[in-house]
Symmetry: C2
Subunit: 408 residues, 2 copies
């Protein structure tokens, strides 16, 4: 069997943890399996490198940023290889370039184009454990070092598993798997044994930090099953895979709450073509990621427009809105970051039209006011006051019997 | 003009110093010259990486050691490139691999086989300043990352200058140039304007840390002149170059003292073939670098053998000697690290046979006892008590009029 494993930054944050990962890897090898391991940079390494850059310049070039950031994983692959060697196993570390990970040239957020697996396969055939740097590659023009940006290491692992036709792709993290909701908020939260790609994608996009949506998308495209589990114990985790229609017994699979939300509302914007485009184009130009958008026709020829973004983008977004207020013909605007986004996700919603209404009812019974609502095929999200978020998550978890169901 | 510059770890130890180096580099470019810069890792980076490794294992594999050590220079080239960019110059950083620095596969102490300069030349022709990681390359078998070991960055600079047929190779360090002796010990010490490769080589081997002997050897072989100078001011430094016979007016060019010396003496070793070989082979097997060796026939069929090594190797050397004592037929042994090696160097000595005697006389007049003596064509070294070293250096500096001569 060929196994690909990925260990995140917290799993290799110090020498003791690296030794622990080494033992796990050696265990798999000793059972006769071939194994490719990909790792992130140790704990806070990336932050430390970014601080170093900030001492030099406020506007680093992306190419040089990648040269420096890629050293974080280069350190961790060498250390892990040394720790595995200590256990008597044959092992080799490979940088993104050495592992044949070819990307486009979009520095700091490159996409993997292809993986030339010749070198990895050679090393595997020689009986070696192969440790590959996550998060990095080289472009095909000039052998420039690239990094993959957010979710890069998860993506490296999934891409390696696909390219190598691995039998198993394990994503090790600091939690036990994917839960029906955050167990720190709702003690009754239940670990899911299985979840579909689509549901995982919604959960990941909603801020469940277990697995990056980009990696989920890639796995979904190539139907590569992922096993998400903890590097701190041997409990089974959650398998993310294709779920046949007939298995989709659960209407709602999970509840997620994202507190990193800010809300901006514009009053009485002119109701004419191009207004929304002007506003959201200007926000996009500033690289502000707008999440929910609500436009409601309140009076004749006048609309209210509300949208949400991350708290970190609020200041920039307000500058844009202030500048455009006259052009948009708005009477004024309001904003706040005391809000949260609570969402329910479930593949079964598609065929259960009443789910959104059940959610609103449950929140209403708790006296929680809904400030904004948005829905997709398998998700309903509501913006509520931040102070209501724990109460909301607990109520929804209970409402949809997530602690008890055995469907997944 | 094409200029190659090298900046050591202390010259790029922090953000402020990196900015200073950037300005120096940009100055050269603004005068219309092409420039290739090679840098070491920042200050203590290498030590920090070694400590990290020590937390993982006491016996790291050399290959993985190189993977991790090479990140030090990768960080400094990116930071320097960013700082140069801040000044409005066009610039690119290249790792050893990207710069085409091909080495043998002797990890942690690789030798440069060749430099494929295509990429560097391309970047130069596009008007860019090229920043190359010192100390590193790739081997030609597997694109494994290699490091060059001690003196690696100096060697990278000289090799780049040779391969690119540079007009000038400047080695920037934290001292003003090469002095007749250590100015911290003898205030009258004088900076040499010019020194021959041979003399520089002896001085470097004797522990004058300005320039690594390996880089001097390479420069000598290809007759590449080097300008050794400080990155902290704009004073002219010392030019290391071929010196014609007729110019060699100075009998003695410099005085060097090395305090990192330990001495071991064996009494009454058997005088038969193979004895010396047995001892020094065993020491070499333990990778102990033996410096001076003195064998003196004291009595019939019995010799005393003394040798020196670095203080760090003393413990290992004693273990070897203890193990071999019986096999060598020695009566016993003595050792000590309270000694120092004081040396005079000068190309003019070849034709001045009385120089060694003048040295001994000067030391005798100071009441300094000579424990061991060794000579080469252009060097005389004496082992003395460590507490006499300052007095010895001052006396020799004066004896050979080093503060006053204008020959160089």
């Amino acid at each position: 069997m060929l196994v690909v494993q990925k260990y995140g930054g917290s799993s290799v944050a110090n020498a003791e943890r690296i030794h622990r990962v080494a033992r796990r890897v050696a265990d798999v090898r000793s059972k006769g399996h071939q194994i490719v391991v990909t790792v992130s940079a140790m704990g806070d390494t990336t932050d430390d490198l970014v601080s170093l850059v900030k001492e030099i310049t406020d506007s680093p070039t992306d190419r040089e940023m990648d040269v420096i950031l890629s050293t974080g994983e280069q350190v961790s692959i060498a250390l892990l290889a040394m720790a595995i060697k200590e256990l008597g196993e044959s092992v080799i570390s490979l940088t993104g370039a050495q592992a044949g990970i070819h990307t486009d040239s979009a520095h700091t957020k490159a996409r993997i184009n292809s993986i030339d697996t010749v070198r990895i396969k050679e090393e595997l055939e020689q009986g070696k454990i192969v440790v590959v740097a996550g998060f990095q590659g080289i472009d095909q023009v000039n052998n420039n070092i690239t990094t993959l940006g957010r979710g890069g290491s998860d993506t490296t692992a999934v891409a390696l598993a696909i390219a190598l036709k691995a039998d198993l792709c394990e994503i090790y993290t600091d939690v036990d798997g994917v839960y029906t909701t955050d167990p720190r908020v709702v003690p009754e939260a239940r670990k899911l044994a299985v979840i579909s790609y689509e549901e995982m994608l919604e959960l990941a996009n909603l801020g469940a930090a277990v697995l990056h949506p980009r990696a989920v998308e890639l796995a979904m495209k190539y139907k590569m099953p992922l096993h998400v589990r903890s590097s701190f114990n041997h409990n089974p985790g959650t398998v993310v895979r294709e779920v046949e229609e007939m298995e989709k017994s659960l209407v709602v699979t999970g509840v997620v709450c994202d507190n990193n939300v800010a809300k901006i509302g514009l009053f009485n914007v002119m109701d004419k073509p191009g207004i929304a485009h002007t506003l959201f184009k200007a926000l996009a130009d500033e690289k502000i990621n707008v999440d929910m958008i609500i436009q409601s026709a309140m009076r004749d020829e006048r609309n209210d427009i509300s949208f949400t973004c991350s708290k970190g983008d609020l200041k920039k977004a307000l500058e844009v809105v202030e500048k455009l207020q006259t052009a948009l013909g708005a009477d004024g605007f309001t904003y706040g970051d005391g809000v949260a986004k609570v969402s329910i996700v479930g593949a079964g919603m598609v065929s259960n039209p009443g789910v959104a209404a059940e959610m609103f009812e449950a929140l209403f019974r708790e006296g929680i006011n809904l400030e904004m609502i948005s829905t997709s095929e398998i998700k309903v999200s509501c913006i509520i006051r931040a102070e209501d978020s724990v109460k909301a998550v607990a109520a929804l978890h209970k409402k949809f019997n997530l602690a008890e169901q055995n469907g997944n």
